[in-house]
């Protein structure tokens, strides 16, 4: 709840026409700006936010720091793309705008969206940074879009010059499927220096994480906060329980792997603690289990190797399904859905598990693992993509036999 006046510097240069951020760089930027304004004004009603553009005909202040969200959103309409970004001038004008803020008690902060190449040299940026630090202005930099040589270095140097006690931050957002605003939500730019974030940021983060454009669990947290909270808590607990069960199942699937048993023995006893553990841990175990079951050449389980190939030869459905999954894992879009569909098919999965030694499909912990596999198939799929070319080789070998 820091009392803050913020100036947001928007890059509306020609580089923003590019579509590598959906729908276009400029649109992604505008969404991020809207979210930031909302978060700032929500976290403290006396916060003010202002907006200026850095490219176009020249640096232009669209709205001076105000707490009226409507005014800010309105000025984002009808912005035109063109020209080149002038970072130094933009920052200096922002500093001037903040200097003349009405409430002198507010802390000063500038948020810069640096999407196009930076023309100034490192020295000039460092001088600007020092001046900001001297006047106790914090600076947040969002580095996205163009990535030419030296741009990251220059922005890092600028941040180092400004940074006073970790009040300034830089975020690098590479192009990808995630929206710019989604990536920013989890950064300190939104959450405001680790104070835990406003309710706005938290609920926006929850919505993004849930993968639903509306509300998590289909329940509006504003309409029914207790229900939404209860659903969220029970989901966390279920996830924790499934992770612990998955660890146990992974242990059963590979008795000879010393590391895994070590992890698994910790699992049942420290189930609650594991809730907060990095999910990668669990996923590597799961992935190891699957890798072993799919005849991974890196593993040293020769015994299981032969068994698996026998099983594959005996069960044409299994071989076909595995082949399908391997093929589709090389494609990006549908891989997740298909893999999860395959895994969701109970009979298919239990037939795989039946062929594994030491796994009883009727074991309740195994059944829980099946359910958890659905949830984790997404992240596991990413790791599987690396294994896919190797798996493919393996499949081809088997077919030749």
């Amino acid at each position: 709840m820091v009392l803050e006046a913020t100036m947001i510097c928007i890059d509306n240069s020609e580089w923003m026409r590019n579509g590598d951020y959906a729908p276009s760089r400029f649109q992604a930027q505008a969404d991020a700006v809207n979210l930031i304004c909302g978060a700032k004004t929500q976290s403290n009603p006396e916060n003010t936010v202002g907006v200026l553009t850095m490219a176009g005909k020249g640096v232009r202040v669209l709205v001076t720091p105000t707490s009226d969200l409507g005014k800010i959103l309105a000025c984002m309409h009808g912005l035109e793309i063109g020209g080149e970004m002038n970072l130094a001038a933009g920052i200096q004008v922002a500093q001037l705008a903040l200097k003349h803020r009405q409430n002198k008690k507010q802390q000063q902060r500038i948020i810069v969206f640096a999407g196009s190449p930076v023309m100034h040299d490192k020295k000039a940026l460092e001088v600007i940074g020092k001046k900001l630090k001297k006047n106790s202005v914090a600076l947040d930099i969002v580095n996205f879009g163009e990535d030419d040589e030296g741009k990251t270095e220059k922005l890092e140097a600028l941040l180092a010059a400004v940074n006073n006690n970790d009040t300034s931050h830089i975020v690098h957002v590479p192009a990808g499927p995630n929206a710019l605003s989604d990536v920013l939500i989890s950064t300190p730019i939104f959450t405001g220096d680790g104070e835990g974030g406003s309710g706005f940021a938290a609920s926006a983060a929850a919505a993004a994480a849930g993968g639903v454009s509306g509300f998590e669990f289909g329940v509006d947290p504003n309409l029914d906060p207790e229900l939404a909270l209860a659903l969220r808590v029970s989901m966390e607990e279920e996830r924790a329980r499934q992770e612990a069960a998955a660890k146990k199942a992974a242990e059963e699937a590979s008795e000879q792997d010393a590391t895994m048993t070590e992890h698994a023995s910790e699992g049942p006893s420290g189930a609650d603690n594991k809730k907060n553990e990095i999910p990668d841990d669990d996923n590597t175990l799961l992935q190891q289990a699957l890798a072993m079951s799919v005849d991974e050449p890196a593993s040293t389980q020769d015994l299981q190797d032969t068994e698996m190939s026998d099983a594959a030869a005996e069960d044409p459905d299994l071989a076909l399904a595995l082949q399908l999954s391997v093929q589709e894992s090389t494609k990006d879009s549908s891989s997740e859905a298909d893999m999860s569909k395959l895994l969701a098919d109970q009979s298919f999965v239990s037939s795989i598990l039946a062929s594994l030694p030491g796994v009883d499909p009727n074991d309740p912990s195994v059944k829980e693992m099946l359910a958890s596999m659905q949830n984790q198939s997404e992240s596991q799929q990413k790791q599987d993509e690396d294994k896919a070319p190797e798996k493919k080789e393996e499949k081809e070998e088997k077919e030749e036999k």
Partner: protein, 204 residues
């Protein structure tokens, strides 16, 4: 200008004169260009502790000796003189410019504005020098801003103690915080005389 102590201090108790530090609103004291945020609060202490440099002191950032210290008081004070103890090896400030009752001053303002008073300082490591003010200008000070533009060596500035001598009034110069302005009148707020039972005497 100097407070010549040819007798020892314990006799006439200098410290009671320098008691304005008690009226400083420490939570709202800020400084610009300080190396450690919050270290500025450590320079306001009792007269006896002015030479005690074991705790923190105020230091400017590397390579930049300018310092700007904003000090609000809990009530209006009258300041007779100011004492500043700097650091050794040329890190003492060499000039002092002072602004009264202005908040939100930053470096560009401080450099361009005319100060209420300014002094050329001398290295005052023993804390025996004080700088008198033009008392008429320092009659009702709610807050004061000290600007140290440079130091003797030129690299950084260190300050161990800032003291004020004077007296505190009990008055507070307060901004009117809560006023409700009516855009349209609310009839229930405006009772007529008939309703309140007053009015003209009735006619028999």
């Amino acid at each position: 200008m100097a407070c010549t102590h040819d007798h020892s201090c314990e006799d006439h108790d200098c410290s009671s004169n320098w008691s304005l530090y008690k009226h400083i609103d420490l939570s709202k004291v800020t400084a610009l260009n300080e190396a450690n945020p919050g270290s500025v609060k450590s320079v306001f202490k009792a007269w006896e502790e002015r030479l005690n440099s074991s705790g923190e002191h105020l230091e400017s950032n590397e390579g930049d000796p300018e310092l700007l210290v904003y000090i609000p008081f809990t009530s209006d004070v009258k300041i007779k003189s100011i004492s500043v103890v700097g650091g050794a090896d040329g890190t003492s400030p060499s000039k002092l410019r002072v602004f009264i009752n202005r908040d939100g001053i930053d470096f560009s303002d401080a450099q361009s504005m005319q100060p209420v008073q300014e002094w050329d300082l001398v290295e005052n490591l023993q804390g025996v020098l004080e700088y008198q003010t033009r008392y008429s200008k320092f009659q009702s000070v709610a807050n004061i801003t000290l600007h140290f533009p440079e130091s003797f060596a030129g690299d950084t500035t260190q300050i161990h103690y800032i003291g004020f001598k004077g007296e505190a009034t009990q008055l507070k110069r307060d901004v009117v915080a809560t006023i409700v302005y009516e855009i349209t009148p609310n009839p229930s707020d405006h009772k007529t005389r008939a309703e309140t039972g007053g009015g003209l005497s009735h006619v028999e």
